[in-house]
Amino acid sequence: MMSNANIDTAQVDADGSNATPMPAPLTPGQVLRARARTHRGLQIGMGILLGLLLIALFAPLLAPHDPFAQTLSARMLPPVWSEGGRWDYLFGTDQVGRDYLSRLIYGTRISLIVGFGAATIGMLIGVTLGVLAGYFGGRIDYAVNFVLTAQLALPGLLLAMALVFIIGPSVWVVISIVGVLHWTYYLVVTRSATMRLREIDFVAAAQAVGASRLQILVREILPNLAPQILVIFTFELGVAILAESSLSFLGVGIPPPTPSWGLMIAEGKEVMFFRPWQVVLPGAAIFLLVVGANLAGDGLRDITSPEGRN
């Protein structure tokens, strides 16, 4: 899981060049929109994310059954395309007779909640530390660097497993732990970008006008970092979703009976030689969601800083 966390830094353009105004008569916003219109990957990625977001929002309308409703007499039904399948349970039922399709649909909610939640927590930690270190430098920078090195020395997955196991699994515990372990990219990028911005004229100008440090950080620096933070956020969304699914798969993530895709794979693993779709379907769903996030991240990076395209 955490092995997927190593987005190479090359993906994230750290030189802050997007802050430089475009020479063309178009406003920066128009330029972005123009680029987005021609970027196929971005469109596909955003399309997937938006689609799954809609599924998550309208899950109660889309799901044919209550995802928690058990019918023990109709347990372990095969999907409709197999012998013995029924049209009222399109993808069959699970160990306690819950509708598989409905659980898949509701699983979208869990993945997105964990993804957005954890990526937000990581962002708050990483950006705060990065901006502070980059803006103030000196001792604060040194301390932040220490924390960063310590974090990089942590065996992430192992630690997440141990922590969830010890604290006791719940959705919020998983969100917090995944978030707390995924902030380093925000830090690395915002730190160097802030260092550069600090030297640029408009910050100096704001200082001259007598703005407080906090005001400068919030009003001048942060808005300029926003595009890069958004790019990392999109990637980390995918990373967090993968992390949650791994933890749930190992039995130290989202607790039952909540429909989590990783948990569904773990439940299906037991019978995967006979009912492989119970492993294939939720895994394909995770894959789709994370591909969406990564394509969107790639695309956002490309259109905000075309030089960094690779």
Binding site: L72, R75, M76, S82, F165, V271, F273, A284
Partner: protein, 507 residues
């Protein structure tokens, strides 16, 4: 998405594609067995867990043996026992019994084993069970041992049969774990080689006594491999690398049993599943579970029949007592709460919880059962959060009295006697006892030291009827054991669910 569905469709046919090419094991007379647990220690005197019991049955003998068909204890290396007085048992040994190294069994070996187990330096897991009643074992003559007891204890013969495996005098003198790797036993099979965590190779012992209740032993060699991953076990069974696996989930057993070279064998089991409720109020002295109406409501809320029939299947039964119906003293005439969600809701309202309450339910195995229980309790208005985790976490929380309710199971160590489940769950010092009714505790402990079987039966009846009336538990079902065995193998099962591999034979 479409391509994934096709993969699924292709893969769905695999059980049948795999059924070819199985290797014959009857040919080399070797039964290949897979355990999910690693075998790390051959000495059952120093271990617990079911895998070790199965192994010990093959390599060891106690003084007596349990006959599952007659439900009695029969002489093994002993010829019988006699109570000289309520606190003294005399046991005589058979002639001509030899250890795997060829040396003859004497009374000295037996006395040594028992005295060592209760001695200071012993690390035996049997120590706590034996030291309760045994003062000392004394050699009377070369074939006779006298057991001096501390108190009357009707289950002494059970302990002699199930718990203590006889070792040669002097075995543990230098090292309390001396028999962990190099085991010299008395059983039908002797150890050829042992790689801890990987493999135990056994072969039939030529000098095994003909009068043993385990006879006739038919298979020449048994190899036990540790395969912790259930997928690996299944794959090995398909390819013929393994002939016998157990602790198989029902769904896997039914799917794999459909293959032509594999049989699905089901047996009943003494293990029962139940909910234990904090009736005493350890977690909250004023909590809803301290109200008997609430506990009865929870009993009415659970559909035992549905769980036993659909989830457990096979040999599973509905259980409404705090013991297995097959156990001695397990009175079935106690209060039985029928599945009736309406009544459950009414009782909750009567108890002052018309809108239910919050309940944290712990569980450690059979997640699907736990999920069904959660759904049923929620259906009558109780809001349940499920803490499903490892046994070690559940026990720690229970020891700290932080548990409102848990889904527990108990196998009674295969002992068909209510004593094997009652004391553990209702004695005063057990943290499993969450009702702490002194009356129940007294009855259970009195039964333990009562020799008269009729009186003992009556004591358990009284205790069990209080437990049922007060609804301290929600008893649910008895387990079924699912075995998957090669079609070449004839594998008989017994009511207590314990697999007896020495009874297996080739068809």
């Amino acid at each position: 998405m479409f391509s994934y569905l096709r993969i699924a469709a292709v893969a769905a046919t695999i059980p049948f594609m795999l059924s070819t090419g199985a290797r014959s094991d009857a040919g080399d007379d070797t039964l290949r067995v897979a355990f999910g647990e690693e075998v790390l220690n051959l000495d059952y005197n120093n271990t617990t867990k079911r895998e070790y019991i199965i192994l010990s049955d093959l390599v060891d003998e106690g003084l007596f043996d349990y006959d599952p068909e007659a439900n009695t204890y029969v002489p093994s290396v002993a010829t019988g026992y006699e109570y000289l007085d309520p606190l003294t048992i005399e046991v005589k040994l058979r002639d001509g019994i030899t250890f795997h190294d060829g040396s003859a069994l004497t009374a000295e070996d037996v006395a040594y084993t028992y005295n060592w187990i209760i001695s200071e330096g012993s690390e035996s897991k049997a120590k706590s069970a034996i030291e309760r009643w045994l003062d000392k074992a004394v050699v009377v003559d070369s074939k006779t041992i006298r057991f001096d007891m501390l108190e009357e204890y009707p289950l002494a013969v059970r302990d002699m049969a199930n718990r203590i495996q006889i070792r040669k005098a002097g075995t543990y003198d230098d090292d309390p774990n001396a028999a962990a790797i190099d085991l010299v036993g008395l059983g039908p099979y002797q150890v050829v080689s042992f790689e801890p965590g990987k493999e135990v190779v056994l072969k039939a012992y030529d000098g095994y006594f003909a009068d043993s209740p385990k006879q006739p032993v038919q298979i020449g060699n048994i190899v036990i491999r540790s395969l912790p991953d259930s997928g690996t076990q299944q794959a090995e069974l398909f390819s013929g690398g393994v002939d016998w696996i157990f602790k198989v989930s029902r769904d896997v057993a039914e799917s794999m049993g459909a293959a032509p070279n594999i049989d699905h064998v089901v047996s009943t089991d003494l293990r029962i599943g139940f909910l234990v409720l904090d009736a005493f109020g350890h977690t909250d002295p004023e909590g809803p579970l301290t109200n008997v109406l609430v506990r009865r409501a929870m009993n009415h809320a659970i559909n035992r029949k549905e769980i036993a029939e659909f989830l457990m299947g096979g040999g599973a039964q509905v259980v409404h007592t705090a013991c297995h119906p097959a156990q001695f003293g397990c009175d079935q005439s106690v209060a039985d709460y029928a599945y009736d969600p309406e009544k459950a809701r009414a009782l909750l309202a009567e108890a002052g919880y018309p809108d239910g309450f919050d309940l944290e339910l712990w569980s450690y195995r059979d997640k699907s059962v736990a999920e069904v229980v959660v759904a049923k309790l929620e259906a009558v208005g109780i809001t349940v959060s499920l803490r499903h985790g490892k046994l070690a976490s559940l026990n720690e929380a229970r020891a700290n009295r932080q548990i409102q309710a848990y889904f527990g199971t108990w196998g009674s160590g295969g002992t068909p006697d209510t004593a094997a489940i009652a004391r553990v769950h209702f004695s005063a010092d057990s943290d499993r006892n969450m009702s702490n009714n002194p009356k129940v505790t007294d009855l259970v402990l009195a039964a333990e030291v009562t020799g008269d079987q009729e009186k003992r039966d009556a004591l358990y009846s009284e205790a069990l009827s209080i437990i049922a009336d007060e609804a301290y538990w929600v008893p649910m079902f008895s387990y079924a054991q699912n075995f998957l065995v090669s079609s070449e193998l004839e594998f008989p099962t017994y009511a207590d669910g314990l697999p007896r591999l020495y009874r297996a034979k080739w068809k």
